[in-house]
Symmetry: C2
Subunit: 261 residues, 2 copies
């Protein structure tokens, strides 16, 4: 009895007739930033391996070294279960067109389910040929400013790969995901700050000639500290500041009531 | 009585000590793709205007021409109400760190409300200085592969600007947003296709020696057409194909029952 080997799912980037080595390097770099490593090249215009691709890859050399070369797009995608093709805005194909975000969520689902999923990117000048586009199930187009669309190969790949990376389960998406080791201050910590501050102001005679306004001024001061969403560390810093300023005051230098009061 | 002039909200990109002209051009291009036009440069390392920036801007020259130069970050951000700073992963600031997606939604809200919002990007080698970072309310960090983080200035700006563009109300986000002028086929159109196909198969004698299996084969054929989510145009194309193939059959050439039946 032989066990059936199940290949794990993967995302495969296929560049068709890429012209500029730097862009291939930029794609490899974008790939590795978002955890994608399988690169295929169909008829690159410059000799391969390409030193200018390596210079631009900035440490993603392993992706370039493992890249496979193919003579035809058909051969490059033969083992893939799902295929997407990236295009600029056009409407002459009878295929669904997805945003990178929609396509990324779909691709992530397929890859998690064990499918091998490919994305075709065309060359810098002409993009993909019709005969390549028809191989794809779905087109991907980046929604941009309607009056200005200008993304090169490396930029288009970066956006699609970024969305693929963002579709991973363990990646924070729409959140603030780090607080630098601290946390928002609790209400109790804020009250501690207010008590200290107001005691020092009373001690300094701040309210002496405006006694009737004390309550509204205290509310304004307290309110001003709410706007900034103070962190616990901020509260400690401010309390230190108040203490230091109060400590500089010469004992007995309490401000006198103005004579008009 | 004078009316109070209210400045409209805007997003402003501030590059602090950018080193490479091409990257400034790439930022301008990324900006215009996503409808952002206000660029400020603090002490660019190369002379300004920079012909290499213009070459890379690919039509976003107007953004470069309107760019303003400043001697200090403080002067460059003086008129802004909210400030974000982009950083690679680090944890030594007591500031909230947001993903580009979270920050974009927040910034869009502020800009819509009339605020002038800035994003600081540091130079290629060193990033932002601490004294610049402390000016910001919130840091923006792109969540990437934990083992490989390598985004240059142009790439980081592209991702943040892309998310800002995607946060606009009239931009399709997680959807398929175009069907190339056609639409998914209706169930009625599919039944029309099935009827034609099955009639032609009957006429061609396809089921003659497998009469008992006709029902399950028909179900399999019908099922196979559901998987592809056929478009209305697909149904018309397939009906034409069936008609053409059936039309080639010489009248009376109906396949004979095999002798074993």
């Amino acid at each position: 009895m032989t066990s059936t080997a199940v290949e794990p799912g993967a995302l495969v980037i296929v560049l068709v007739e890429p012209q500029i080595g730097e862009n291939i390097g930029a794609v490899a770099r974008a790939m590795l930033n978002f955890g994608v490593t399988e690169l295929r090249l169909v008829r690159p215009k410059q000799a391969w391996p390409n030193p200018r691709a390596q210079a631009m890859a900035s440490g993603a050399d392993a992706v370039l070294e493992a890249a496979r070369l193919f003579d035809t797009t058909e051969a490059a995608v033969a083992d893939l279960h799902r295929l997407y093709a990236t295009t600029a805005r056009r409407r002459d194909y009878l295929k669904p067109v997805a945003t990178p975000r929609h396509a990324a969520a779909e691709m992530r689902g397929f890859v998690t389910g064990g499918d091998r999923v490919g994305i075709l990117f065309g060359g810098e000048r002409a993009g993909l040929l019709n005969e390549d586009v028809v191989l794809a199930h779905t087109l991907i187009t980046v929604p941009t400013n309607r009056e200005f669309f200008s993304l090169n190969l490396g930029q288009a790949a970066l956006l699609v790969l970024y969305e693929y990376g963002m579709s991973a389960e363990d990646i924070p998406r729409g959140e603030r995901f780090e607080m630098g080791g601290t946390r928002p201050a609790t209400r109790a910590e804020l009250y501690g700050l207010f008590d200290q501050l107001e005691a020092e102001l009373d001690e300094a005679g701040f309210f002496d000639n405006i006694r009737t306004k004390r309550e509204s001024i205290v509310q304004n001061i307290r309110n001003s500290f709410q706007r900034g969403a103070l962190l616990e560390q901020d509260v400690r810093t401010l309390r230190g500041v108040i203490k230091a300023i109060a400590g500089k005051r010469v004992p007995g230098s309490r401000r006198k009531k103005p004579p008009t009061a």
